[in-house]
Amino acid sequence: METAPKSVRGVPPGKNKPQAKRKKPRRYWEEESAPPAAGASPGPPGKKARTREPRPQRSRSVHLARAARSSKKPQIARNASDRKKPRRTLSGAQDPFPGSAPAPVEVARKFCRIDKSGKLPHPKPKTRSKLEKAEAQEEEASVRAARAELLLPEDPGFLEGEDGEDTAKILQTDIVEAVDIASAAKHFDLNLRQFGPYRLNYSRTGRHLALGGRRGHVAALDWVTKKLMCEINVMEAVRDIHFLHSEALLAVAQNRWLYIYDNQGIELHCIRRCDRVTRLEFLPFHFLLATASETGFLTYLDVSVGKIVTALNARAGRLGVMTQNPYNAVIHLGHSNGTVSLWSPGVKEPLAKILCHRGGVRAVAVESTGTYMATSGLDHQLKIFDLRGTFQPLSARTLPQGAGHLAFSQRGLLVAGMGDVVNIWTGQGKASPPSLEQPYLTHRLSGHVHGLQFCPFEDVLGVGHSGGITSMLVPGAAEPNFDGLENNPYRSRKQRQEWEVKALLEKVPAELICLDPRALAKVDVITLEQQKKERIERLGYDPDAKAAFQPKAKQKGRSSTASLVKRKKKVMDQEHRDKVRQSLEQQQQQQQELAKPARARPSALDRFVR
């Protein structure tokens, strides 16, 4: 679900930093005169000019957002007053750009959500006016959203090889040398050999990092400033670690039970109903913490009220592989019999079960738009599945050692951890699956990979391994523009609290999780029909049925029995003819559809058509 771009709304001026209170609020004319932030400077001229900074500096983007906001407000006010005033000026000068600004059609289409594929039964005039109104609303909203896209100032980063050069051969050191200092600081290694392989998790804003070592080491830090929030040893095996809705709460799956700590490292809860948890996932819009356990149970814990919503028995033994589909909040579990099952808390059985591998499934990852799923299995294969209804494998390849960990970035890059190597693949265009032929980047670590996650809104990949934590630069991985009201990396404590309240108010009920999240906008046809049937039974007739044709009485012998019969028959014949015509049309359509697959056949090759 694309949301309208809203980088603008997020940052209320003056609240961001204490400095701003003292200072006069900046205006756009001042902004122009101010020199741009230092981040834009490219690398040393002598070096290869193939890389660009993975992300421009944060602080600058915030400035831009603020500037845009402050310049927008007076504009609106002026517009309102303009309408009352006459258009003509005394001088007779005319507006060189009359009317509203043109909106790019392509962009606007992205925000159109009315599904016009299905055939609509012919509407009555009253209904038609409603439909037209809905369409007009959609168009206006989409055009406005498209116009607002202008306010997204940042472009994604990228990495290009010189002609013929393989980007996979570019080392991290090269990238670090090429980018600016601020970006280069995002590449670092934490050498923590003592407490075993590490799992890690970034908070939703991408600002905070939690890491849990197998041997009990739990830490949370603001990784951008490298400020440690807490560091404890739980004196127990740590299986997984995950932030809850904000960086203030931290769920840790320990050897026996599930614990929740705050950002001071104080233990808040010990949840004994979730025992022997192996993997944790948090569904941010539903406030659900999903846990997969060794005992084969998938448990949903509502963290807003502290209740367990459901505990589902997967009946597939130990659950060690879990991920969530960010598009529809469905949990994907990987099983040892090569299947991946899709779960929702409302249904006791899996929504779908996909046979993916001949061996057990080792890792699963789902893309942020919910279109593609990557799986790797014991048969050393890495496959990408299409999740839009067909669940067909789109591409597959055999990896020498098989991937133990998989993760998708916000912009669709796929990373696989194989032994002590991570490989990153990228797709050709936007919304295309990553092509597995040529890796985009590779990196070797000092230990075996144990956890992988791309940092949101930063071109950074965090890798937890037996030797500690590595944060590596992956240009073009993350979404460059963040929604300031949703995930603001620069939010203050107060802002976070406000956001928390709003998010809780907008919490989505757990039972709404299903494969098609737009099902809520559909009518419950089964119940509707059942009610209709019941009504017909109750009344004894169908009130909505079309009455049988009754010919009018006419004078001068034209209302004789024969003519009545004739008229009736005429109408009947007409109806019959219509029916026949319709069925013929349907047949033709079917034939065409049958004929089509021959044309539609090259769907496998569509990825080459551009």
């Binding site: 206006e140 046979l355 067909t390 032994g419 075996h448 024969a562």
Partner: protein, 768 residues
């Protein structure tokens, strides 16, 4: 009246006098002589009497000479005046100007006027008044229909209603009233304007322009014109209808006219025979021809619709029977041979035979043979399709062979590449053919044919495949029950399937085969080099293994789905670890063991699971058999099959499963009731189908998905009221109507008394 009375009196007097005179006229003629003065007169009288003796006017009465008391009304004569007396003269006024004119008028009016009808009773009168009042009121109110409609459809209504300003923008001079020319340049300009009598300040328009603006607005004129047009059109319709109605005559009229014509014709003919026998003969021939026509047309036999209906009625209705008889008689009469023409008896016999044949037979035949366009079309289409199919079956064979051969020649490693190439080739061919078509219209047909061949071959291959899929799935069920391998049947299949097998998965046929294949397929995996020191070995492709068994492998798609078509792994730039830690090595070994044992029965298990899921989701049949009812019951006795069949209620077939064509997926058919509880389950009013309603709710309204302005607009309230303002009822002026006191509803409401008086006034009028 006074004038008439004396006249009448006079008359009466004179007549009486004459009556008195009469008896004594002749017998006392001599005794009446009185004097000399009377002599002449007497002589004349005598002469007259003598004259009257011989003619008609014997009774010519003598002129009245003197007044007498008795006047006979019978003896009025007009002899004296010399002209005849008319009644009108008597009635007419003596003088030229008379009050009789008024009386005459009254008289004529009385003559022309019929008697007054009885006044309607009270209830009816009231009803009429109500109807009139209703129609008038509804007409008045209908003016508001468009306004109501508009307000209902409006996205937002703001109350109190603000009048739209007459002009959207005021002239500049209104805004700058205080402004005065100060600088010399300005003053000069204004001087110039003044000299030319141009409007400078407030009235921006010249008086003439203003007057023209004040004239009737365009819209009003348009409305008026439209009304006139409509009235004219209605009138013309009405006239046309009246004309049409006038022309139409009743059945009876036509009947009489027909009969009259027939009689006239007969009479003419009789006369003609007398006058001109030759012409009569001709006429006779004509009649004969008519008879022949009649015989041919069978018009008057009992076959028509009318006749049939009469035939039905004839049983009960005497009139109908008579009518039928009449018709039959007419038929006989028409079909009778004239004496002149009757020559052979055989023909007559034949006729009779013909007549014996019921008419309905003919009709039925006609119906059966009658060209029913629908049937005809379907027939022709069937035949066409058959032809096409035959063609397609004949034509594309070589093409598919080619495919197969080429496939076999190529290595399956580069299957995708091959397909790509093929596709490109085909596309190229198609393009070429199109070009050719453009270039040479003569040779176009051939190329078309070739392209169509290609398309057809593709089509055919596909359809075959689909068929086979269905076929196979059926077979699979059977075979799973019987465990009979069906290899012989399926052997010819794979050759054709090869080219199109890329994506479409298929089910495994039998369990045995599946297992066998599993083993076969396991081989490459086993042979697949384990992660060792050399990465080069791993780049070997599992599919580049000895390909003796490749055919079977491709046939089974699940298998294929799980085996990879791996791109060459040379691209993997960085090799994996050369030296691994000890525990890593251990883990690797564990994995190896797992790999060795995993995967054999994965597919089998999955298929089993899927079968179970399908069975579980199928609607269950209901068995209502009662054992021991109507037959023997007991421990080992089962109710008979016939009975069971009779009392088994089969559940209706549910909709097809979503994973019907996806062998590797089980999609749950279970409905999420909790989610459905949040869905809309009643269609709101104007919508008749749920698709329509769904379209109107698909656009998200929240601020999460919209920009701020769009959000505000989408969630704007439907009605906005200004606090502290009185909301008055809508007036005609508010919506731009010219309010006329008669037609305005508010006026009608304001004086209801007047309205109620209205019927009374009407009553009065009717009494007058």
């Amino acid at each position: 009246m006074n004038a008439i009375k004396p006249a009448k009196g006079l008359l009466a007097l004179s007549q009486q006098d004459e009556l008195m005179d009469l008896p004594g006229t002749y017998p006392l003629s001599a005794s009446e002589d009185e004097g000399d003065s009377d002599g002449e007169r007497k002589h004349q009288k005598l002469l007259e009497a003598i004259g009257s003796l011989n003619g008609k006017n014997r009774w010519k009465l003598p002129e009245r000479s003197e007044a007498s008391l008795k006047v006979s009304e019978f003896n009025v004569s007009s002899e004296g005046s010399g002209e005849k007396l008319a009644l009108s003269d008597l009635l007419g006024p003596v003088k030229a100007s008379s009050p009789l004119a008024a009386v005459r008028k009254q008289l004529s009016r009385i003559k022309s006027k019929k008697t007054l009808e009885l006044p309607l009773n009270k209830g009816e009168v009231e009803q009429i008044h109500r109807e009139a009042a209703f129609s008038k009121t509804s007409q008045t109110l209908s003016k508001w229909d468009s306004v109501v409609q508009k307000n209902r459809e409006a996205e937002q209504l703001v109350f109190p209603i603000q009048k739209e300003p007459s002009s959207s923008f005021a002239p500049m001079e209104h805004m700058f009233r205080d402004w005065k020319a100060r600088t010399p340049l300005e003053q000069e300009v204004f001087n110039l304007l003044h000299k030319n009598k141009q409007p400078v300040t407030d009235p921006l328009l010249t008086p003439v322009e203003k007057a023209s603006l004040k004239a009737m607005s365009l819209e009003e004129a348009k409305i008026r014109r439209a009304e006139l047009q409509r009235a004219r059109a209605l009138q013309s319709y009405y006239e046309a209808r009246a004309r049409r109605m006038k022309k139409t005559k009743s059945k009876k009229y036509h009947k009489i006219v027909k009969k009259g014509k027939a009689k006239q014709a007969l009479r003419d003919f009789v006369e003609l025979t007398k006058v001109d026998p030759a012409a009569a003969l001709e006429e006779l021939e004509k009649i004969e021809k008519a008879r022949m026509m009649e015989r041919m047309s069978l018009k008057h036999q009992n076959s028509g619709k009318w006749a049939k209906s009469k035939a039905i009625m004839a049983k009960y209705d005497l009139e109908a029977r008579q009518a039928m008889q009449e018709q039959l008689a007419k038929n006989k009469e028409l079909t009778q041979r004239l004496q002149v023409a009757s020559e052979s008896e055989e023909e007559g016999g034949a006729e009779e035979e013909e007549a014996l044949v019921p008419d309905t037979v003919n009709e039925v035949q006609v119906n059966a043979d009658g060209p029913n366009p629908w049937m005809l079309r379907s027939f022709s289409r069937d035949t066409k399709e058959d032809e096409v199919q035959e063609d397609s079956e004949q034509l594309p064979e070589p093409a598919t062979h080619e495919f197969a051969e080429s496939e076999e020649n190529e290595k399956p490693v580069a299957e995708e590449d091959v397909l790509l190439k093929e596709f490109e080739e085909r596309r190229y061919l198609r393009k070429q053919s199109e070009l050719k078509q453009d270039a040479e219209p003569v040779g176009g047909q051939e190329t078309k044919a070739s392209t169509s061949q290609e398309v057809l071959s593709e089509l055919r291959a596909l359809s075959k495949k689909l068929k086979k899929e269905n076929h196979l799935s059926k077979e699979q069920k059977e075979s799973s029950a019987k465990n009979v391998p069906l290899v012989q049947e399926e052997e010819p299949a794979p050759e054709e399937e090869e080219p199109l097998l890329l994506q479409r998965p298929k089910k495994v046929q039998t369990v045995e085969e599946l297992e066998a294949l599993g083993e076969e397929d396991c081989l490459p995996n086993k042979e697949l080099p384990r992660p060792t020191v050399e990465g080069e070995q791993m780049r070997k492709n599992p599919q580049s293994q000895p390909k003796g068994k490749s055919k079977k492998e491709q046939m089974i798609s699940l298998q294929q789905l799980l085996t990879t078509r791996t791109p060459s792994s040379t691209s993997l730039a960085v090799p994996t670890t050369v030296e691994a830690l000890d525990d890593e090595v251990e883990r690797d070994q564990k994995q190896m063991i797992k790999e060795a044992f995993a995967g054999d029965d994965v597919i089998k298990e999955f298929l089993k699971e899927k079968r179970e899921a399908i069975q579980a989701s199928k609607p269950k049949d209901m068995d209502l058999t009662l054992p021991g009812w109507g037959e023997w019951g007991g421990m080992d006795l089962k109710p008979s099959a016939k009975k069971r069949r009779r009392f088994l209620i089969k559940a209706p077939e549910g909709p097809p499963r979503k994973d019907k064509n996806l062998p590797h997926v089980i999609i749950s058919e279970q409905r999420n009731i909790h989610a459905a509880a949040h869905q809309v389950r009643v269609l709101p009013y104007p919508f008749t189908h749920h698709q329509q309603f769904e379209r109107t709710v698909q656009t998200p309204m929240g601020s999460t998905w919209n920009t701020q302005r769009a959000f505000q607009k989408l969630t704007a309230p439907k009605i906005v009221t200004k606090p502290g303002h009185i909301i008055k009822p809508i007036k005609a002026e508010d919506v731009g109507y010219q309010s006329s006191p008669r037609s305005d509803l508010s006026v009608m409401q304001s004086n209801p008394r007047q309205h109620s008086k209205h019927p009374k006034q009407l009553k009065k009028n009717s009494r007058d």
